[in-house]
Assembly symmetry: C2
């Protein structure tokens, strides 16, 4: 069976997350419907990251197996034709061997969280950013974010429903950068716990508005207790930026 | 009558342009409805630029006169509350004297045109960019764009329905810059003819894809003839970035 690796961008706003659910709109359901429309095959796709309800992706990676050996470009264009007008798009496609698995072959994930930090609400970026009116100190957030780097018990920044066996994760990169009215918060790691990015961003925003010091963030991490977490940032600001193989 | 100057951002996608029209959704209609919801007054607002159907704004400027002397911050927040969930937002408000007129006091307008230049269609930036699959040479476009700067008869780049008395305009700035997959084309002038920016961008894209040379663009300008214009770029990529006073 020819296997294809696809890079996918989507606006998660209309979807109940990536993973297929009966009778609910999901990104996976949308793509599988498009594949069926294109070649008539009922297949299951596999993704690098099963993003949560309302979370976006600019570089999600999936793989799928088809019976017929189509050129990769045909697979991409045909799926895109059947996806439209859904806000889901295949950005690239390539034939890969059976050893490639979108989820298990992934060496790392990079997430971007966008905060629109101004008084006026978003009109153009509506649904793609978290709107925070209080001025945020991006440099203080960036300094505090460095304390999260490394191998830690991330229980504080883990959703109660997280099904990972261990709360131990290694965070490789954490950056907070201001670009005009926007704060771009980025993280890279081999993998993340459920709602880890949104939990870290919400707590970093507490530092940004001066409610927490960097030491408070370090203490929250060290507590390894969900109750020590700040407010969880909303899904709409979060985007799976890329997957590293 | 207290006069207020407001900076407004909007997604033009759902609207038949800025200017109010009976029984059609317009940005002006949306804002005037919100003002009425806030203070009960039926007023007429005035804008720096009457953007076309589907054109966006990040920094449109309007003025309006109210009977009561509200704090500017109250005007902004109340209009925003009544605008929601329309994709129109007041970003700032200030009380100004009667000498200020959003349209007639303006010294210049700056427009940004966004081209998404990649094979895959837009999902996240859907409706905010012009999707061009053919690789565009941004540097060639930027060099050609410089030929448009200065005082010219812009008849070539003027919509047939343009009502300006003269086709003579002075273009102050023109820039084409690549940022990853996106080309950002920006123009500044005291004022523009109807569809001038979209006409210039469409012709510059001909240069970008190698169908026109810079000399072809110069010849098209010199022809001062609408028939010499390239294809007009679609409205969705265009944004009124700011107004200078």
């Amino acid at each position: 069976m020819p296997r294809y690796r696809l890079t996918v961008e989507y606006n998660g706003g209309p979807y109940k997350g990536f993973q297929a659910q009966v009778d609910l709109p999901t990104v996976q359901g949308e793509i599988e419907r498009a594949v069926q429309g294109f070649c008539g095959e009922t297949i299951r796709i596999h993704a690098a990251g099963r993003t949560d309800t309302g979370v976006h992706a600019a570089g999600q990676v999936i793989h799928l197996d088809l019976t017929r050996d189509w050129p990769a470009r045909v697979v991409m264009n045909a799926i895109n034709a059947h996806l439209f007008p859904a806000p889901v798009a295949v950005l690239s496609a390539q034939a890969v061997d059976e050893g490639f698995h979108a989820r298990f072959s992934a060496q790392g994930r990079r997430y971007l969280y966008r905060i629109l930090n101004r008084v006026g609400p978003p009109a153009l970026e509506r649904g793609l950013v978290w709107h925070v009116k209080t001025p945020l100190d991006a440099e203080a957030m960036d300094r505090a974010a460095q304390l999260l780097i490394g191998l830690h018990d991330f229980s504080t920044f883990r959703d109660a429903a997280c099904q990972a066996r261990s709360p131990l994760k290694t965070l490789d990169e954490a950056n907070v950068e201001r670009q005009g009215e926007e704060l771009r918060v980025s993280f890279a790691a081999r993998s993340f716990l459920h709602r880890q990015v949104r939990s870290m961003v919400g707590s970093l925003a507490e530092v940004g508005r001066g409610a927490w010091t960097a030491a408070d963030l370090a203490a929250a991490l060290a507590a390894a207790d969900r109750k020590a977490c700040g407010p969880v940032a909303p899904a709409r600001g979060l985007c799976l930026a890329s997957v590293i193989y």
